[in-house]
């Protein structure tokens, strides 16, 4: 592979694995754990005082999915590109949905797919249409037609269980009949819940979750852990319980015992995607994962995005708010005044930035945020075990990770046997988030690579020797987990409310469920609120 040399060329500044080990040839980058820029926020007092000022109409802090969506929506509602500014701490926008690339492939660093959406989610569909993800509408059914290159190609999922790759992720191979019967009963129940409508006429479970029924009989489910509810319902099959834990960890980073029953059921019953050429079980994916969607969001608006810029303090001014923004490159601080500030940052950061504002502006919502580690392995080849061939999503039964996705899956090329990038995900959900985070920050590059390979070697013997490069990202604050009471306890809704027509909030933390659709819905809502605040109220 000619690309191997290309890949391994810039070795300077890279981490390497332990000499003398079987991994000693492996090099790569490590991000997140010691993120210098993020750490500036720990001690804002040490940052320089502003030397410049700048005025905009609307300032967006944070360029994740929520912030980028708000930026796009504000322009769609009539703001001029020059009136909006977005500051982003990282060198490029995207947040948890950002992507990387090397000589072999683009690959996700976090979010990597979007399920085919519910056609009633009109705003999301409009975005997807503008992005070329939806290419038309079928005249007869009025359903969207998705771009086939973006619908996940066949051989979508496989599970390594009992030494064999089976099709699909619900365990089947060697599962006793009594357990199979429970599995069937569970999915029948989910099918029913998917159709269920509350007394208010709304679906029991829907995405975005704000549109779900307010009916007490469903909301009550938020008060108890999913695992307790499963016990009550007699879903005790070990294989099924593994599958629930896998699913909850995959989407929320937390186990079935940690998330609420409402959230657990929402995962299964809220996907109601329909399309002319796909259904709710299908997903959209790209080599760069949701980095593709981030790029589309970015392109659909013109206003400035200022990367490498850390917002670190908010102040009140006579005409609105001022935000001190530190430019990592020039090491200077600019005070940006804005009539409206939209905080599209995780709540623990938002809280720090608001320290200088009156108590009423604060958002003291405790969020259970699970750290994640993501390892992108560039491999020369992937030695396969028996059973279904390499698929898009590949999960190993009973392991600590939630498996890996193949970034090359959507490739149309015939040269499939060669080098590829696979992205391995592991939520650190066994300890408390704080302990797990501390532990994660202390873990070395070599140790993460060792753990990932030790696990993958069980299904791919000889993989270590085939690794060309391993890049690690430790997401210390990962994403929010919908612990019992978080979704419908009331505090969450209160935390999202704007303050004094000046300060607005959008982030998946405020949804309690961290998925693209929720980030998008957050950005849409906040942009609408900003617009409403800017319009003179009819007397």
């Amino acid at each position: 592979m000619g690309s191997a040399g290309l890949l391994l060329a810039p070795l300077a500044g890279l981490h390497s694995c332990a000499p003398g080990s079987r991994r000693s040839h492996i090099r790569g980058s490590m991000h997140g754990a010691n993120h210098a820029t993020g750490h500036l926020l720990r001690d804002p007092a040490r940052l320089p005082d502003p030397t410049r000022t700048e005025a905009v109409e609307v300032l967006i802090v944070g360029g994740g999915v929520a912030g980028l969506t708000a930026r796009r929506e504000l322009e769609r509602q009539g703001l001029q590109p020059g009136q909006v500014l977005l500051v982003e701490l990282d060198e490029q926008p995207g947040g948890n949905s950002r992507a990387g690339h090397n000589g072999v492939s683009a690959y996700p660093w976090g979010a990597h797919y979007l399920p085919v959406p519910d056609p009633r989610n009109h705003e999301l569909l409009a975005f997807l249409r503008d992005a070329g993800v939806i290419t038309g509408t079928d005249a007869a059914s009025d359903l969207p037609i998705y771009n086939e290159y973006y619908l996940c190609h066949d051989l979508e999922e496989r599970l390594f269980i009992k030494g064999h790759w089976q099709n699909g992720l619900v365990p089947e191979l060697g599962v006793p009949p009594a357990e199979k019967e429970q599995i069937a009963r569970f999915f029948a129940l989910i099918e029913e819940l998917r159709q269920t409508v509350g007394t208010d006429g709304r679906d029991a479970f829907v995405i975005p979750l704000e549109a779900s029924s307010q009916d007490e009989q469903f909301r009550r489910l938020d008060e108890q852990p999913f695992a307790a509810w499963l016990d009550e319902q007699g879903f005790t099959s070990p294989h099924l319980r593994w599958y629930f834990d896998y699913s909850c960890r995959d989407d929320y980073g937390a186990t079935a015992a940690q998330v609420s029953a409402w959230a657990g059921l929402h995962y299964f019953a809220a996907r109601k995607g329909r399309a002319h050429n796909a259904n709710g079980a299908d997903v959209l994916t790209w080599p760069a994962g949701n980095g593709f969607l981030v790029e589309q969001l970015r392109r659909q608006a013109q206003s400035s995005i200022r990367p490498d810029t850390v917002a670190f303090a908010l102040h009140q001014t006579p005409t609105g708010l001022a935000v001190d923004c530190y430019d990592v490159a020039t090491k200077q601080t600019t005070r940006v005044t804005a009539r409206q500030v939209l905080m599209a940052t995780p709540l623990f950061i938002t809280e720090r930035l608001l320290a200088g504002l009156p108590a009423a502006a604060h958002r003291p919502l405790p969020v259970h945020r699970v750290p994640w580690v993501v390892v992108n392995l560039t491999v020369e080849g992937l030695p396969q075990g028996p059973g279904q061939p390499l698929s898009w999503d590949n999960v190993l039964y009973g392991t600590d990770s939630v498996g890996y996705v193949d970034a090359g899956h959507q490739s149309l090329s015939q040269t499939d046997a060669g080098a590829r990038v696979v992205t391995w995900y592991r939520p650190l959900s066994d300890a408390s988030p704080e302990a797990a985070r501390r532990q994660a920050y202390q873990t070395s590059y070599d140790e993460w690579v060792r753990q990932a390979l030790a696990e993958l070697e069980t299904a791919h013997h000889g993989l270590t020797a085939q690794v060309l490069r391993a890049d690690v990202w430790v997401w210390g604050h990962g994403m929010v987990a919908p612990t019992p009471g978080f979704l419908w306890g009331g505090a969450r809704a209160a935390a999202a409310r704007p303050w004094q027509n000046q300060l607005f909030f959008a982030h998946t933390d405020l949804s309690g469920i961290s998925i693209f659709e929720e980030g998008f819905a957050q950005g849409q809502r906040a942009a609408r609120e900003v617009q409403a605040a800017r319009r003179p109220t009819p007397a």
Partner: protein, 530 residues
Amino acid sequence: MDKVPVRRVRRKASGSPSAAAALPAAPLDYRPTLLLGSVFVIATCGLIYELIAGTLASYLLGDSVLQFSTIIGAYLFAMGIGSWLSRYLGGSLLRWFIQLEILVGLVGGFSAPLLFLLFEHVSSFRLILYSLVGLTGILVGLEIPLLMRILENRFEFKDLVSRVFTFDYIGALLASLVFPLVLVPQLGLIRTSLLCGALNVVVAGIALYRFPETRPFRRSLGGALAASLLALAVTFGYAGQLQAYTEGLAFQDQVIYTKTTPYQRLVLTKNQRELRLFLNGNLQFSSADEYRYHEALVHPAMQALPKARRVLVLGGGDGLAVRELLKYPQLEHIDLVDLDPGMTRLFQQNQMLLELNQRALLNPKVRVTNADAYQWIRQDTSRYDCIIVDFPDPGNYSIGKLYSAAFYRALEQRLAPGGWAVVQSTSPYVARRSFWCVAHTLEAAGFTTLPYHAYVPSFGEWGFILAGRNSHWRPDAGPLPPGLRYVTPATIRDMRFFPPDMSEVPTEINQLNNQALVRYFEEDWGPYAH
């Protein structure tokens, strides 16, 4: 496989048998007889190893006369070396003999499985073959001189020589009869080789347990003996799998060219009648009847397009479809896109293949591009009057993408208004659902289709689908080029008819996100795979 009669000449031992009168053997000592019996076994096995090597060499490398004579020459010469070396063996001759038999059993016994397995995976197969032949020859050459020295005191010299060589030659006769008549047909080469190995080890065992002077080393040699016997027996048990595995790799005819490119393994074989090309072990064409396939692929579309100027060929790196296209002088430009430069280069350089494709790929009208067809048609911006799609069968998920509705929609962008595309679509007889799935997928992508099929003896019934958009087609729209051997207006009309055992069946559409075709294909062809 042709067999060459082998005349066997066993070199005389160069040891120095004592001419002194032997002591009369004790009347009840059956042991010399036992040893003479083993001469018989040794001789039979020794010749069989030689026959196996010769057969394998002509089987795998072709040209049996040359292979057989050089193998026999090398083998006999190695035996000579062995005989000469025997003089250096001293001390307990019986011990040497037992060790030697175990070694012959292992080397000879595993020779066939080893050679079969290595053939596909090593670059210098001949080196390995001759090394193994040499080693076996040396070991076998040691046997008889050694035995004669062991027996030298028990017989008079003239008796000794006459008896040993009598058994030796009878063994040879037996071997040359049972090898072709019983062993190969009943057991196959791999099991035969293992069986002979086991017999050599058994000879070692008899010597070990029947002669009291072996007591001091019975233990150590007994272990080695048992382990060798076990290894041979276990391999014998798995011989079926080994055979199935290696047979897929071996070819009936003489292999005249092999190359492993990053994409596939090309093997070209030849016999008196035909050249055959195999890609990854699958027959791609036989020169004896490929004209049927390529005429059927090209002419039904081209005769409908008398005004065609530009043609695109996807796949077809052998240039045989292009050869047919060049029979239309009005064509100005042919683009051929094939993934594998190893393939197109072979068909631009090899003399025999240049004769076959009539130097089609060197024609100035033809532009050869080595690229991934899917990427290529998405990037290309021109239009073609005719597009010939000649991909490998949809046997895996990445090739399956080249048969998807999405691919055909992209293909349609490259087709000029009124033009025709034609798609090779596997066998409508063997893989009926696969064939109709391709047709339905083309229809789902917006094409009008005209399925047809032709009989190609090497392949059986083969299917093609014409796909057009607002295009008109008649079986006799334009003149056919002169000199065709298969396609005429009448043939074209016949090809359109599908008897009930191949007629249309309902199928799914092959989409990137369901890969329905690969599944049909696996199921349809499954019963035919061995």
